[in-house]
C-alpha cells in the first residue's frame, strides 16, 4: 500500500506544488489525472523518492519513507517500488532479458531468469527476449518496461503516462495487463496520466 498526507514540493519560490492526500491499498489501482504542468511527474517522483518533499508524509507498507537518506531511499526504491516511465527507456546495449535482470542486479537481488521468462510470456514478448530493445515496437517496449517494474515483486508500482503513446487498443491492453500483474503479486498501482481514456477502466481516481 501507499499513502500521502499534505505533500508539498517547490522547485523555486515561485513554483510551489501541493498535492492532495490519497491512499491506495494492495491490489488497488489509483488514477491521478491532471493536465500538463500540474506536477504529475513531480508527484510521481516524490512517491518514488527521486525527489525529497519539502513537507508532508509518504508511507509505503505503513513505513514512513519521506525522511529517508539518499542511499536508504535508493535501496528502498529498488526493492519496493517499480517505476514505469512515460517513454520506455532501456540500457541500450543490453538485450531485453538482460534489461529485465538488470533490475534484480541493481536492487541487489538474485537474478530471476524464470520470473523474467514468465513475465515475458504473460505480457506477450517471450519471442523477443534475446533481441535488443531497439528492435521492438513501441507497444512491445512498453510491455517490457512493465515487466522490468515487476522484476523485484515491488509493493508499489508507479506508472507515468504509461499509455500516452499507445493507440486505444494497446492502451486498454496495457492497463489490463498492469491490473492483472498487481493482482498476482499483491501490489498497489498508481497511474499518473492526462489520458482520459483510462477514466472508464479505473475505479479510484483523483484530479490534480
Amino acid at each position: 500500500m501507499i499513502a500521502t498526507q499534505n505533500l508539498t514540493f517547490s522547485y523555486s519560490s515561485e513554483k510551489n506544488f501541493s498535492f492532495p492526500d490519497f491512499s491506495c491499498a494492495d491490489r488497488e489501482t489509483m488514477l491521478i489525472l491532471g493536465k500538463s504542468g500540474k506536477g504529475k511527474t513531480t508527484f510521481l517522483h516524490l512517491m518514488a523518492l527521486l525527489l525529497k518533499p519539502t513537507g508532508g508524509k509518504i508511507q509505503i507498507n505503513n513505513q514512513e519513507i519521506s525522511d529517508f537518506s539518499v542511499s536508504t531511499a535508493a535501496d528502498f526504491r529498488a526493492k519496493n517500488v517499480g517505476i514505469i516511465y512515460q517513454k520506455p527507456h532501456f540500457v541500450h546495449s543490453l538485450s531485453v532479458m538482460e534489461n529485465l535482470l538488470l533490475a534484480n542486479y541493481l536492487a541487489g537481488r538474485s537474478q530471476a531468469k524464470d520470473l523474467a521468462k514468465h513475465l515475458a510470456e504473460s505480457l506477450g514478448f517471450a519471442e523477443h527476449l534475446h533481441k535488443k530493445t531497439t528492435q521492438l515496437s513501441q507497444g512491445e517496449q512498453q510491455r517490457v518496461s512493465i515487466a522490468r517494474a515487476l522484476m523485484n515483486k515491488p509493493s508499489v508500482i508507479l506508472a507515468d503516462e504509461p499509455t500516452s503513446s499507445l493507440d486505444d487498443d494497446n492502451c486498454l491492453k496495457v492497463v489490463d495487463l498492469l491490473k492483472k500483474q498487481i493482482e498476482e503479486i499483491g501490489a498497489s498501482l498508481v497511474v499518473v496520466t492526462h489520458d482520459q481514456r483510462l477514466k472508464d477502466v479505473v475505479e479510484k481516481r483523483i484530479n490534480l
Binding site: 511527474t41 542511499s71 535508493a74 529498488a78 532501456f90 538482460e98 538488470l102
Partner: protein, 417 residues
C-alpha cells in the same frame, strides 16, 4: 548480469569506436614492446659474444667493421694480416690469451672460421656428438648449422669462397664433420669451426686458379694481399684475418693497442667502445620510435576519453534510469572506468601479441640474412610496467568523463524525456 558484462556490452555496442581505441592502444604497446624486446635481445647477444675479449687485431679499416666481422660474424672482414706479425704481438707479456681467426669461406651461407681449439674453449663449447678437430680439413659444427643443414658426424662437403651462396666451390678439398656442438646461445651456434691449417690448405690450391673466375670482392682482396712482394719469395707466408686478444690488465692493454695502431700496419679495435658507439647510433632511432609509440598510446587514451564523453551525453538517461533502479553513483562510475580498463587490457594483450609477431618476422628475416636468432616468447619485466602504464592511461581517460555521473540530476533527467 554484472558490471563487467554491462561494460562489455557497451563496448560491443559501439564496435568501431572500441576497435579504434583498442587498435591505437595495441599499436603503441606493440611498438614499445618490440623495441624493448629487440633492444634487450640484441644487447644480450652482443654482450654475451663480447665477453672475455678485450681487443681485436686485424687489418686496417673500419674498427666497427673489424669488431662486427671478428666477434659477431655479421660483416665482411677488413682484410688479412700476416700470422707472423700477429704472433709477435702475442709474445707481449700483457697478452693473456690470443685466438687467431681466419674467415672468408662459407658453406650454404654459414661461415667457416679457421681458428684453434681455444676459440671453442672461449665459448665453453660442449659436444652434442663427436669431438674436437685433430687435423686439417676436420670440422666442428655449431648447433644451429647442424640442425638447419642436417649435418652429422662423418659428413663431407666442399666449402665455397666468400659468404654468398654463389661463391667459387673449393671442389678439390673436402671438409669432414668430426664434431657437433651443443647450443651455446652465442655466435658459435651459427659457425663452422676448423683448424687454421684447413683454410690455408684450401687456399693454397686455390691460388693457382685463375683470378677472375667467379671472383668476388673478398677473393680479390685476399689475392691482392697475396700478390704482394711476399708472394714471390715466400710462398708459405701464412695469413689470418684477425686475432681476439684478452689482456692480463685491460688498462695497460689500451696502451699497447695505441702503440700497435701507431707503429704497425695492424689495427686494433676495442669491442666495448665500438659496440657502445653502435648502440649510441641506434639509440637515437630507438628513442624517436619510443616517443612515437608513446604519442600513439596517448591518442588511444584520448580516443577512449572522447568516446566515453560522447556516449555519456547520449547515455545520460540510461544512467539516470540505472540510478533510479537502485545503482549507486560510485557503481556507475566504476562501470564506466571498467570500459577504459577493458580497452587498455585488450589493447595491451593485442599489442604484446603483435610485438611477438613482429619480432618473429624480424628474426626470420635476420636469421636468413645474418644467421642471428631472437628468442621470441620471453615476457619482460618492463612490459609489466608498460601494462600498468596502459591501465593508468585507460583509467585516466575514462575517469575524467565518468565524473559526470556525480552531476546527474536523476529526477530532472528522467522527467525531461
Amino acid at each position: 548480469m554484472n558490471l563487467l558484462k554491462i561494460s562489455w556490452s557497451n563496448l560491443k555496442d559501439k564496435p568501431l569506436t572500441s576497435f579504434l581505441s583498442i587498435l591505437l592502444m595495441a599499436l603503441g604497446i606493440a611498438i614499445i614492446s618490440l623495441l624493448l624486446l629487440a633492444g634487450k635481445q640484441l644487447e644480450e647477444k652482443f654482450t654475451r659474444n663480447v665477453a672475455g675479449i678485450d681487443m681485436v687485431v686485424g687489418a686496417k679499416g673500419s674498427p666497427l667493421q673489424l669488431i662486427l666481422a671478428s666477434i659477431y660474424q655479421i660483416d665482411a672482414p677488413t682484410g688479412n694480416i700476416s700470422l707472423d706479425e700477429a704472433n709477435r704481438l702475442t709474445r707481449n707479456p700483457l697478452v693473456k690469451s690470443a685466438i687467431p681467426l681466419s674467415m672468408g669461406d662459407s658453406y650454404q651461407g654459414y661461415r667457416i672460421v679457421g681458428t684453434n681449439e681455444k676459440y671453442l674453449q672461449h665459448f665453453e663449447a660442449e659436444y652434442e656428438a663427436g669431438k674436437v678437430f685433430s687435423g686439417a680439413m676436420e670440422m666442428v659444427v655449431g648447433s644451429k648449422v647442424a640442425k638447419n643443414l642436417e649435418l652429422k658426424v662423418g659428413d663431407t662437403f666442399a666449402s665455397q669462397h666468400g659468404f654468398d651462396k654463389e661463391g667459387d666451390v673449393h671442389e678439390e678439398k673436402k671438409f669432414k664433420v668430426v664434431g657437433i656442438l651443443k647450443n651455446t646461445n652465442s655466435v658459435l651456434d651459427q659457425l663452422m669451426v676448423t683448424p687454421l691449417e684447413s683454410v690455408w690448405a684450401v687456399h693454397d690450391s686455390h691460388h693457382e686458379e685463375e683470378v677472375g673466375k667467379g671472383a668476388n670482392a673478398l677473393k680479390l682482396l685476399e689475392e691482392d694481399n697475396i700478390t704482394d712482394e711476399e708472394h714471390h719469395h715466400e710462398e708459405e707466408a701464412k695469413e689470418i684475418t684477425s686475432m681476439l686478444i684478452k689482456f692480463r690488465n685491460p688498462a695497460m692493454g689500451m696502451m699497447m693497442a695505441r702503440s700497435i695502431n701507431q707503429n704497425t700496419t695492424l689495427q686494433t679495435a676495442s669491442p666495448a667502445i665500438e659496440i657502445n658507439r653502435l648502440f649510441a647510433l641506434m639509440g637515437f632511432g630507438i628513442d624517436t620510435l619510443k616517443i612515437i609509440a608513446l604519442v600513439i598510446i596517448i591518442v588511444s587514451g584520448l580516443s577512449v576519453f572522447v568516446s566515453l564523453y560522447n556516449s555519456l551525453k547520449e547515455r545520460k538517461y540510461e544512467m539516470a534510469l540505472m540510478l533510479s533502479m537502485g545503482a549507486s553513483r560510485t557503481k556507475l562510475f566504476f562501470l564506466l572506468l571498467l570500459e577504459g580498463l577493458i580497452i587498455s587490457t585488450i589493447g595491451f594483450v593485442f599489442g604484446v601479441v603483435l610485438s611477438r609477431l613482429g619480432l618473429w618476422l624480424m628474426s626470420k628475416n635476420v636469421e636468413q640474412n645474418f644467421h642471428y636468432d631472437f628468442n621470441v616468447l620471453s615476457l619482460l619485466t618492463e612490459e609489466f610496467w608498460l601494462f600498468l602504464g596502459a591501465l593508468f592511461i585507460g583509467l585516466l581517460a575514462a575517469a575524467i568523463p565518468s565524473l559526470g555521473i556525480y552531476k546527474i540530476d536523476i529526477s530532472r533527467t528522467l522527467a525531461d524525456e
